[in-house]
């Protein structure tokens, strides 16, 4: 049914465009109501009135709001997020430098979270009411209840300060800084590509704690959702069919039930990846991780609005991008949503 699929695609694209537009509108409004006067920031509060007015006109602030919004839209769409008042760089290039650090953290965390969460969720569904089920319940309850920054501090205290098993705050020990030329910005990838294995292992030792921490939260969420989707699927009639066919229990669970549970799970995984980008704000603060989260928080304290809004916009846009991604994978996994 190509016509129906096309309609779906168009409505999805419209939704996306609207959401992005709304995202921009929200950040624009925030920027305008903020009590910091960007003109004064530019010319100082002792500037004479005509200088002030000229600077104001230069910034486009004398135009009506809707024109300002259009200019803002044009700027953002052409990649101009303004300049950071603290670093002096364009916000976009700042973000390009900090985002990979966050991405590295979140990506390893989601891989571990999926790798542990899905098997645990499947086990909980298959052995409902038995110990794997209780385990996932306790794990996820704790995960939903514990403050991530506090757990991070405790983990640093125990595993770094007391036991000295892992690297401490930051991405590398100072001794290993500036050895590897940044290319992807993902330190493990860059170090491995350059063959600098000392740097690689040092980066890994710094990654272990924050990744474990973030992975724990995504494991709790993914595990809990896997459990409930699997319980749904295992109760369906086609599972009986598979058993009637004499399929082994492993095949019934992993191929038939999980094959179908994977469809809604995609959305869950995308969502939890997005939450990892967000959870990174607090985690990065705790681990002094030079990522997007640290950048936004630091900018907040310096009242650097261009940086705050640029960062917010990038995180919001990643949310949207993940939505598109999950929609595409969804269509790929579920033949009912696929184009013939």
């Amino acid at each position: 049914m190509p016509a129906r699929f096309l309609r779906r695609l168009i409505s999805f694209a419209l939704t996306l465009a609207l959401t992005l537009f709304g995202l921009l509108a929200v950040t624009f409004v925030i920027a305008r109501v903020v009590p910091i006067d960007p003109v004064i920031a530019l010319v100082g509060d002792k500037a004479p009135a005509d200088v002030y007015a000229a600077a104001r006109a230069h910034l486009g602030l004398d135009l009506p709001l809707w024109q300002q919004f259009i200019i803002y839209l044009r700027d953002v769409l052409s990649g101009n997020l303004g300049s950071s008042s603290t670093t002096g760089n364009p916000v976009l290039s700042d973000i390009a430098h900090t985002f990979p650090a966050t991405l590295e953290l979140a990506t390893y965390a989601i891989i571990v979270g999926i790798g542990l969460g899905i098997p645990l969720g499947v086990a909980a569904a298959v052995w409902q009411g038995r110990w794997p089920d209780h385990l996932i319940r306790v794990v996820s309850l704790f995960g939903y209840s514990v403050p991530v920054f506090w757990l991070g501090l405790v983990a640093l205290l125990v595993f770094y300060a007391r036991l000295d098993w892992v690297g401490g705050p930051g991405r590398l020990d100072i001794a290993y800084d500036y050895i590897v030329e940044p290319w992807s910005g993902l330190l493990t990838v860059d170090a491995a590509a350059a063959g600098e294995w000392d740097v690689f292992w040092n980066a890994v030792s710094h990654l272990v704690l924050p990744v474990a921490l973030l992975a724990y939260f995504s494991m709790a969420y993914i595990g809990r959702m896997t459990r409930s989707f699997m319980i749904d699927e295992l109760g369906k009639e086609y599972i009986t069919t598979a058993r009637v066919k004499g399929a082994s229990e492993a095949r019934v669970i992993w191929r038939h039930a999980l094959g179908n549970a994977a469809v809604p799970l995609i959305t869950v995984v995308a969502l939890s990846y997005a939450y990892l980008l967000e959870g990174a704000v607090l985690t990065e603060t705790v681990f002094a991780w030079p990522g997007l989260g640290s950048y936004i928080t630091q900018a907040l304290f310096d009242a650097d609005m261009a940086a705050v809004l640029g960062g917010t916009l990038v995180v919001g846009a990643s949310f949207v991008a993940l939505n598109i991604f999950s929609e595409l994978v969804y269509a790929w996994l579920d033949p009912r949503a696929r184009m013939k």
Binding site: I30, S145, W150, A161, T285, V308, F319
Partner: protein
């Protein structure tokens, strides 16, 4: 009176509550509450959650009487005292009693929870029921706005709002409330859609009831159940976000005794005086766990599909 009269019906409050044939609406309603309570109280974990929250309320109410010291009394001679003795949970870097600060901090936490719930739940309920009931372009506009708000990660959006409003506890509450309502709107809309074409709503229309009357008397009360469950479950997240803002220094400002901010100050002494940061963390964990336990229990008790099994 004849001696051979049939046995009198079983008496007592319990029999009255569990009666299959309630004589009045009042009895039926109380009976339903009783059944819900029975379902709730049959789960020890739910009761534990409820007990912790009750304790939180009591502690918040009676903090001045329970706390051994005033929360901001400094005793610089007694800085970073270990646990035990005069200060059961030790003192912080200014010699303030940690236990007392925790007890007073429960007031801040409670205030944040109540305020966020009171602000965000009605907004979500209003947006969701109106969108669900009227449908059409009203729903399209309202739900699009909801989607846009949901497209932002909650903590980041709250951060951006705090950046605009300036740090502080009131602004933190407003920022969290602004980010908290969209899921409620979605739930309320989904619920409303299932009731909108029900016969009892049609009957009200036939009787000549106006839209607002139907919304307020028929739709909103029916949405309340699932809203309460969702809000309860969400409060755990609200506590964590509030504490996160406090930890970043964007929530409650010093010297207010707020748990997240207490962790933030304790952070510098983590290596040698771990209790300064550890204790407020445990307090946050406990309260947020309590909300999760209670929310899970409420969901099981109020979900008719689960009750049947």
């Amino acid at each position: 009176m004849s001696l051979s009269s049939p046995l009198p019906p079983r008496r007592g409050l319990r029999a009255w509550l569990t009666s299959d044939t309630p004589a009045s609406r009042f009895q039926a309603r109380l009976g339903r509450y009783y059944a819900t309570w029975r379902a709730l109280s049959s789960n020890p974990l739910t009761l534990l959650g409820l007990a912790i929250l009750l304790a939180l309320v009591l502690v918040a109410a009676f903090a001045p009487w329970l706390a051994p010291f005033a929360p901001n009394d400094q005793d610089l001679a007694n800085r970073l005292a270990p646990m035990g003795g005069l200060h059961p949970l030790g003192t912080d870097q200014l010699g303030r009693d940690i236990l007392s600060r925790l007890l007073y901090g429960s007031r801040v936490t409670l205030a944040i929870i109540v305020l966020v719930a009171v602000i965000s739940a009605p907004i979500g309920l209003a947006v969701g029921t109106i969108a669900g009931y009227f449908g059409g372009w009203v729903a399209a506009v309202l739900m699009r706005v909801t989607d846009i708000f949901m497209a932002f990660p909650r903590l980041i959006l709250a951060l951006a709002f705090v950046a605009v409003l300036g740090p502080g506890i009131d602004n933190a509450v407003i920022a969290i409330a602004i980010t908290a309502w969209p899921p409620y709107a979605r739930i309320a809309r989904a619920e409303t859609l299932t009731f909108r074409n029900a016969d009892f709503v049609r009957a009200s229309i036939v009787e000549g009831a106006g839209h607002w009357r139907i919304l307020m008397t028929q739709i909103v009360p029916l949405c309340l159940g699932s809203m309460i469950v969702r809000v309860t479950l969400d409060m755990a997240g609200v506590i964590l976000i509030a504490a996160g803002l406090g930890f970043l220094g964007l929530g409650a400002q010093p010297p207010t005794a707020e748990w997240g901010a207490m962790i933030s100050t304790g952070r510098d002494y983590m290596l040698d005086q771990w209790w300064v940061a550890a204790m407020p963390g445990i307090a946050i964990l406990l309260v947020s766990l309590a909300f999760n336990l209670l929310g899970d229990g409420l969901r099981d008790a109020l979900d008719p599909r689960k009750r049947r099994s």
